[in-house]
């Protein structure tokens, strides 16, 4: 072989090494391995679908979910108001089969990050190359001694995870006498769905206004003021529910007298016909108790380029369970966006490529002020290399000017599209 020929081969080898270095060999092609996703909500179902779809089946995906079907929190306040049925917000996991995803209905009881295994309540051990945890929130009932028993939790509902609790709270509202008081408590932020409690106040009042017009809605908020869409909710309450909705800020719940359906505040006690306690929240159990680094002992600390735990390699965490970036809400929409960042990063990592250094997430959140009129808040959050986390774009995003029926139609279309983006 001539010297020139050897030189050319050397150069070619150098080229492929360089291509690998820069991720130019078609990042994501040839990704292989097994990803287990825990939690089939807005984050987990989206992650499962996009990892499988974008890796063109190269990565095998197993989705573990404890429930038989997905039930949406967004739109669930319309079920409370009697405007929608639970079946309208329930979707099965069958649609994920066409992506080759294995859906396992089971409960994860433990994570062994060293061995890369999870333990299932019924199905034994499951090995993974990378694990995605999208467990949502769990409630910090330890701060409310009166709520400790199972009976207390069946009596005083949260309905902050859609499903049986949504239906049960609807039944309590139906059984409430005209002239009764529906009282709800809101924990200090951050909690799941910042505008959700205020939307709930609107939708319960919307129902009571028609069915039990002498009744009252009392909003006991631990926060100093309305956390999200303040001007829009304040105006909707004054315009549509004057004399019906009473708002009390700085009213943190200290305990519950379950037998008397009484909210115990610092200086006051409030007896209600129906008491709806939205408790303080933290990362879902499986994330909170798997040894991942938490912030404030509540939320998982993650790397924003990959959504990977800062303490535990190969475990990615999405959605409400993470410590949020500045102004980033805990929303289903945002969890779906987290999932896509994680999916892209996981595929790159599992094909030996670096993750993208420029991820972006955005949020759109619609709230119903009655059965047809809706307001939104929106924001865009590109990754900022200086602070190593997404930062909202100033001058972008914003609020609706006023509630409109057009946005009511878009809110329902949003639900239809995001459910399809996750599950079909």
């Amino acid at each position: 072989m001539s010297a020139a020929r050897r030189g050319f081969i050397k150069g070619t080898l150098g080229l492929s090494a360089m291509a690998a270095l820069y991720g130019c060999a078609g990042a994501g092609k040839g990704a292989k391995g097994h990803v287990v996703v825990v939690g089939g909500g807005y984050g987990g179902a989206t992650a499962a679908k996009y990892i499988s779809m974008w890796s063109e089946g190269g990565i095998r995906v197993t989705l573990v979910e404890r429930n038989a079907a997905f039930v949406s929190c967004p739109i669930s306040n319309l079920v409370l108001a009697g405007e929608k049925q639970l079946s309208d917000i329930t979707i099965g996991y069958e649609g994920l089969a066409k992506y080759g995803i294995t859906v396992v209905q089971d409960e994860v009881t433990a994570v062994d990050a060293e061995k890369r295994m999870i333990r299932l309540a019924r199905g034994g051990d499951l090995a993974y190359d990378r694990l995605v945890l999208s467990p949502g929130v769990d409630f910090m009932y330890e701060s409310l001694p009166g709520m400790a028993s199972a009976a207390a939790k069946e009596n005083i509902l949260h309905a902050w995870k859609a499903g049986p609790q949504t239906v049960a709270l609807r039944k309590q509202l139906e059984a409430m006498p005209d002239g009764g008081v529906f009282a709800m408590t809101i924990p200090k932020a951050p909690y799941r769905c910042p505008p959700g409690p205020y939307e709930r106040a609107c939708m319960v009042a919307h129902y009571l206004k028609q069915a039990k017009p002498k009744s009252k809605v009392l909003v006991l908020d631990a926060n100093e003021e309305i956390v999200s869409k303040k001007g829009l909710f304040t105006k909707a309450w004054a315009d549509s529910y004057k004399g019906m909705i009473e708002y009390r800020p700085q009213s943190e719940l200290r305990d519950v007298d379950v037998g008397n359906r009484t909210a115990i505040l610092e200086f006051d006690q409030v007896k209600a016909s129906v008491l709806n306690v939205v408790p303080p929240q933290r990362a879902g159990d499986i994330a909170a108790k798997s040894g991942l680094k938490l912030i404030n002992n509540r939320w998982v600390d993650i790397n924003w380029l990959t959504m990977e735990s800062t303490s535990t390699p190969n475990i990615h965490v999405l959605g409400d369970a993470i410590f949020p970036a500045p102004t980033m809400p805990k929303s289903g929409h945002m969890a779906n966006q987290h999932a896509k960042v994680a999916a892209a990063a996981i595929i790159n990592l599992m094909s030996g490529q670096p993750p993208s250094d420029a991820p972006l997430v955005m949020n759109t959140c619609y709230s119903f002020v009655d059965a047809t009129n809706v307001v939104h808040v929106a924001s865009v959050h590109p990754y900022d290399a200086a602070t190593k986390q997404p930062q909202p774009v100033k001058g972008a995003g914003g609020l609706s000017a006023a509630p409109t029926e057009m946005e009511g139609k878009y809110a329902l279309a949003w639900a239809r599209n995001i459910w399809a983006d996750m599950l079909t």
């Binding site: 896509k340 865009v380 972008a396 079909t424």
Partner: protein
């Protein structure tokens, strides 16, 4: 021999330039996926909101500019379109233009 070396050098140069342009070749796909929550996976809408799959790049960028300037009234796109840079929108428009609409327009 000289010719071969020159060719290799050119190849190196071309590769470095391609790499400098897009560190992650899937950036357009990833950015476009941020639109899918409302406009459907790969821009194939499930209904009620316009689909973007197969839309020409010129049409999409034209619409975005009208949303940004306020020339075209919107409920939300005038706010969201300002959150993306021109180069991000360029990649997004390229990606959707390359998609095939599934099951016709909705």
């Amino acid at each position: 021999m000289k010719k071969k070396l020159a060719g290799t050098a050119l190849l190196w140069l071309g590769l470095s330039m391609a790499c400098a342009q897009a560190a992650d070749p899937n950036l357009g796909r990833n950015l476009a996926a941020t639109c899918a929550n409302c406009h459907g996976t790969d821009g194939n809408s499930a209904g009620g909101i316009p689909g973007l799959a197969g839309m020409s790049k010129a049409k999409m960028l034209g619409l975005i500019n009208e949303f940004r300037s306020g020339a075209k009234p919107a409920t939300i796109m005038h706010q969201l379109s300002k959150g993306y840079t021109d180069s991000q929108l360029d990649l997004i428009a390229d990606y959707f233009a390359s998609r095939t609409p599934v099951g016709g327009a909705k």
